[in-house]
């Protein structure tokens, strides 16, 4: 309990100082409230998202180095809990799981019966959600709640999910959230979350500046040992945002995306990219907004019991567009074109925003290092100029 801070004094969106120890208490408070905590963990040389029992499960003291086709972890000089950027997984792993049972069917003497599965609900708390991923969560909620372009449509994330956002203290080389105006600060874009953390680990004093963004978030804050965050501390937060933002160099300039792609469907840059693309689908797997699925119908050996499973799919798969004994998009070129023009272009007409949040995962995790920001630059050059040969430095 916090004697110094009577709970009535806590302000919504007020900034408070939370020590390293206090941060650990955040986990126990969440668990006491019945949440399963999901956050970053180090596993097999990558930082993935999984269940956490305590703050000790976080990759403290680890950082990452990312570039096109490159991901490396490295030890930091400090013990920052969030001193890295994004790994190959995104929150869609839990929000729209890779495999979901849609229904079971039973063929018997009585006929064909369909049965809906019932699974017990699980209250989740996400910790460590970056600004770009908050944008992605919002975009995917919009996709799944119907694609009306009515801006007043409630595309809010379900309120039972408890979210603890984290401001990035550093940017990876592949990050470009500033170009997509989705970050790096979680404050500025109307995102939904309960608490926001900004971490400071470089000095003697490892601490957080924490803000409660919802009444539920405030209620949890009241259980934590907080102190006043003075002006200097709050300024440090702003400086951190600015430094992170300044460090990003990749650009994406697409003022009129539809027209841009619409007039470049046969641009030679697509051929250059297709020469390198393996159609491996990594980009769609790691992309936090990709939503395509397929269904798999299975039966048991008697043929009486069948199940239909909903699974992640990728437009890079050859049979994604299968029709009439062939696929509409046979060539790798056409499939890369579909992915890029959809993500950066037609997504606007479908869902009212870009499909890209600037997280950079597709650039990092492409085995041949294709960079969509470079692709857009290549497409912007007039065909026939040398610069359209898509070059990877």
């Amino acid at each position: 309990m916090n004697d110094e801070y009577p709970s009535e004094k806590l302000l919504l969106n007020g900034a408070y100082y939370l020590s390293d120890m206090g941060f650990g208490q955040l986990f126990s408070e969440l668990q006491a409230a019945g949440y399963t905590i999901i956050g970053p963990r180090l596993e097999q040389s990558a930082i993935i998202l999984d269940e956490l029992q305590s703050a000790r499960d976080l990759p403290a003291g680890w950082g990452d180095e990312q570039e096109a086709g490159t991901y490396r972890l490295r030890r930091r000089a400090d013990q920052a809990y969030f001193g890295y950027n994004l790994g190959p997984e995104s929150w869609k792993k839990f929000l729209y799981p890779r495999r979901q049972l849609l229904w079971r069917a039973q063929q018997s003497g009585a006929g064909l019966e369909f049965e809906r599965p019932v699974s017990p609900p699980q209250a989740l708390a996400f910790i460590g959600v970056r600004a770009c991923d908050l944008a992605a969560i919002k975009i995917q909620a919009r996709v799944h709640q119907g694609q009306e372009l009515d801006p007043s449509l409630n595309s809010e994330v379900d309120s039972s999910l408890f979210m603890i956002a984290v401001n990035c203290a550093q940017a990876a080389a592949t990050c470009f959230c500033t170009a997509m105006t989705t970050g790096p600060s979680v404050d500025e874009h109307g995102y939904q979350y309960d608490l926001a953390l900004t971490e400071f680990a470089d000095g003697e004093d490892h601490h957080f500046i924490i803000k409660g963004h919802t009444t539920r978030g405030l209620a949890l804050l009241r259980q934590l040992p907080l102190q006043d965050a003075d002006e200097r501390a709050q300024l440090a937060v702003i400086r951190q945002h600015e430094a992170t933002a300044r460090s990003m160099t990749r650009q994406l300039d697409l003022p009129n995306a539809s027209a841009f792609f619409g007039s470049r469907l046969e641009h030679p840059a697509w051929d250059a990219i297709a020469d390198r693309c393996l159609s491996c689908a990594n980009c769609t797997l790691v992309c936090p907004t990709c939503f395509c699925t397929k269904v798999e119908d299975t039966t048991d050996i008697t043929g009486d019991h069948a199940e239909r499973w909903l699974q992640w799919d990728s437009c890079f798969h050859l049979d994604f567009s299968h029709l009439h004994g062939g696929s509409v998009r046979k060539s790798t070129r056409s499939r890369y074109r579909q992915w890029l023009t959809h993500k950066l272009g037609t997504w606007f007409e479908q869902f009212g925003s870009s499909g890209c949040v600037g997280c950079g995962r597709c650039i990092t995790w492409c085995p041949v290092g294709i960079d969509l920001t470079a692709a857009v630059i290549a497409l912007g050059k007039s065909p026939g100029s040398e610069a359209t040969s898509y070059a990877q430095d």
Partner: protein, 160 residues
């Protein structure tokens, strides 16, 4: 009973030709009537007339061993039968078979060719119309060659 020149002028092939030209060529023309089952032309015979089909259905046919007389295309009211009369050696490439009673206005080929040579403006009008008709028939033939209604190949793949 209409005059030949009026029948020529109202036929779609000569649509927009102008009374002057219709009268000019009328002298080559004669009305003919075929009974259902009769042949308007036989493959290999002299193509001696441009036939404007006024009414009736005509089959363009060719004899194929073991298949009999195969219909390649059917022509209806307002079509013309063939263009072999315009190009040497002026021989019909296919049979023309009346599927119903057919009324035509037949313009004698040598007469019409002579008038086209005499008056290049008429020649150009006739050539334009023939070319237009042939491109239509060629386009349709090419589309039919694609065999679009054929059942798609059942290639092995995942899913339905």
């Amino acid at each position: 009973m209409h005059k030949i020149e009026d029948l020529i002028c109202i036929h779609p092939f000569f649509d927009g030709l102008g009374q002057e030209f219709c009268s000019f060529v009328a002298g080559c023309g004669i009305n003919r009537h075929y009974e259902q089952g009769q042949y308007l032309a036989h493959e290999g015979e002299g193509a001696e007339a441009l036939m404007l089909i006024r009414k009736g259905k005509v089959a363009v046919e060719t004899k194929v061993p073991e298949r009999g007389a195969v219909i390649i295309e059917t022509l209806n009211d307002g079509d013309i039968a063939g263009w072999s009369w315009f190009f040497p050696p002026y021989l019909w490439a296919f049979d023309l078979h009346a599927l119903t009673n057919v009324s035509v206005t037949a313009l004698d080929a040598s007469c019409l060719r002579a008038k086209c040579e005499d008056d290049p403006r008429l020649g150009y009008e006739v050539a334009k119309r023939l070319a237009r008709m042939m491109t239509e028939r060629l386009k349709n033939t090419r589309l039919r060659l694609l065999d679009l209604y054929k059942a798609p190949l059942d290639l092995p793949h995942r899913g339905p």
